[in-house]
């Protein structure tokens, strides 16, 4: 058969594409459950890391997560709880950036070993090369940041990728989202610059201007809708929801 005839070439290409396509689809389907499990586990690890809880090894992540995260909540931008089913906040797809009025804001309520209660708020935004996301753990005063964890898909190693480093994340600890009762959020700014709105600030990463700005924008974008919810927390530290744990120590 003539190797250079049109029929041969077209047939060759078609058969090759079909074959390769089906092989890839098979492999993808075979590995999907394992991959999903890895991704979910990784998300749990990130949430725990925002709470400064370290899992000794990967197999225990799920167990430790379920021990600490006592309730998942969905709130609306007015601070009302709309849902509190199991894993409802964990399963929220942060990529779907719906309109503010319709946005369902996930909150994970956590009980620490010392009995204190924290609230984890997921954030999602854009870095230089791709999406960045993170988890902000709040104290139950609705104002003080307890911890933060950031992840990214493909920021430059050694530069933007450092948002995932502990050193950077530790800078967020004990920052306040409210100034004199007004919601200001947090900004990431070059050292020496002053935030015009009076928000508390975190030093940006050298050589990673755009990623740092991305973190700043992400925080502005994703934390502001929680204003009403956080205010409610300040008024009344224990949000009363069905299925509430009762024996939690109230902070003074």
């Amino acid at each position: 058969m003539n190797k250079n005839s049109n029929t041969y070439q077209i047939l060759y290409a078609a058969v090759m594409v079909l074959l390769v396509g089906s092989v890839l689809a098979l492999i993808y389907m075979a590995l999907k459950p394992k991959q999903n499990e890895n991704i979910a586990n990784d998300t749990r690890k990130q949430i725990l890391s925002a709470l400064h809880i370290a899992a000794p090894d990967d197999s225990q992540v799920k167990e430790i997560y379920e021990k600490h995260i006592v309730q998942d909540l969905l709130v609306d931008y007015q601070g009302n709880i709309v849902d509190s089913a199991q894993n409802v906040a964990f399963d929220v797809n942060m990529k779907k950036n719906v309109k503010l009025a319709e946005r369902q804001l996930p909150v994970m309520k956590c009980k620490m070993d010392d009995g204190s209660v924290k609230y984890v708020l997921p954030v999602y935004g854009a870095g230089l090369w791709g999406p960045i996301w993170g988890y902000i753990a709040m104290n139950d005063d609705g104002n003080t940041v307890y911890g933060a964890n950031f992840s990214h898909e493909g920021e430059t190693p050694g530069l933007g990728a450092r948002i995932a480093d502990q050193d950077f994340q530790d800078l967020f600890r004990d920052k306040h989202l409210f100034q004199q009762g007004d919601f200001k959020g947090l900004v990431v700014l070059k050292k020496g610059q002053k935030s015009p709105t009076g928000a508390e600030q975190v030093d940006a990463l050298t050589g990673a201007t755009i990623t740092s700005r991305g973190v700043s924008d992400m925080l502005a974008d994703c934390l502001a809708p929680y204003e009403a919810f956080l205010k409610k927390l300040q008024d009344e530290p224990q949000v009363e929801v069905p299925g509430e744990i009762t024996n939690v120590v109230k902070p003074q």
């Binding site: 190797k3 250079n4 041969y8 070439q9 060759y12 290409a13 090759m16 594409v17 390769v20 092989v23 890839l24 492999i27 993808y28 590995l31 394992k34 991959q35 890895n38 991704i39 586990n41 990784d42 090369w129 898909e153 493909g154 190693p157 050694g158 530069l159 050298t206 050589g207």
Partner: protein, 207 residues
């Protein structure tokens, strides 16, 4: 199994015919993934696997591939293998796959692959092609590791993520060289390695 010709296919790419140093292929990823050692090594292993298997597959198909669409056929084979490697990494070594992120996908565009497929696998039988793939992959990995060693050591004071420059040095005014983390210094490091390599291999020197 290892005739003289096969030995050449396997060992020449390590030094005398190194894909990075002599053929100047695969520079792009050599700059991108060498900021620290671990991703450099995983990248090297991935390239060895993809290169060896794509060489074998293309070599098996070489008599059936229509000349006009051979580049496309090669690309499809390479892309399929890269996707398989990527999916396996996500399923079994999630942390590393996260670190390498886009770079695994970029193996597809690694010039070494197309270069070896065109230059070797299209004209040789599967076994020498396999050895050629392993050899070139190793040659690439060695250079990656050398560059990554210097970049991680001088740029972050670490090796494999462990601190090796003692705190004492920092207390006495030593600073990590932030420039080493950036791509330009990877290129300069690579240039120095090529310089050293040529200086010790007279037959590679051009007039």
């Amino acid at each position: 199994m290892l005739s003289k010709k096969n030995k050449e296919a396997l060992f020449n790419p390590l030094s005398k015919d190194n894909p990075v140093l002599v053929q100047i292929l695969g520079i792009c990823s050599a700059l991108a993934v060498t900021a620290s050692l671990e991703p450099a090594i995983v990248m090297g292993i991935s390239v060895i696997a993809v290169l060896a298997f794509s060489n074998v597959i293309i070599s098996l198909l070489r008599k059936t591939i229509p000349t006009a669409i051979r580049i496309i056929v090669q690309l499809v084979v390479v892309a399929a293998l890269v996707i398989i490697v990527q999916q396996i990494l996500i399923a079994y070594n999630y942390d590393v796959s996260k670190q390498l992120s886009v770079f695994i996908g970029l193996i597809i565009t690694n010039c070494i692959l197309m270069g070896r497929l065109e230059a070797f696998a299209m004209h040789n039988s599967p076994w020498p092609s396999f050895l050629d793939g392993i050899g070139n992959g190793l040659g690439y990995t060695i250079i990656l590791v050398i560059v990554a060693f210097f970049r991680e050591l001088l740029g972050s004071g670490k090796l494999f993520g462990f601190q090796v420059v003692p705190q004492w040095c920092y207390d006495h005014g030593y600073e990590n060289n932030g420039l080493m983390i950036l791509a330009p210094m990877a290129l300069i490091t690579l240039g120095c390695i090529i310089w050293y390599h040529r200086a010790h291999n007279k037959e590679l020197q051009e007039d």
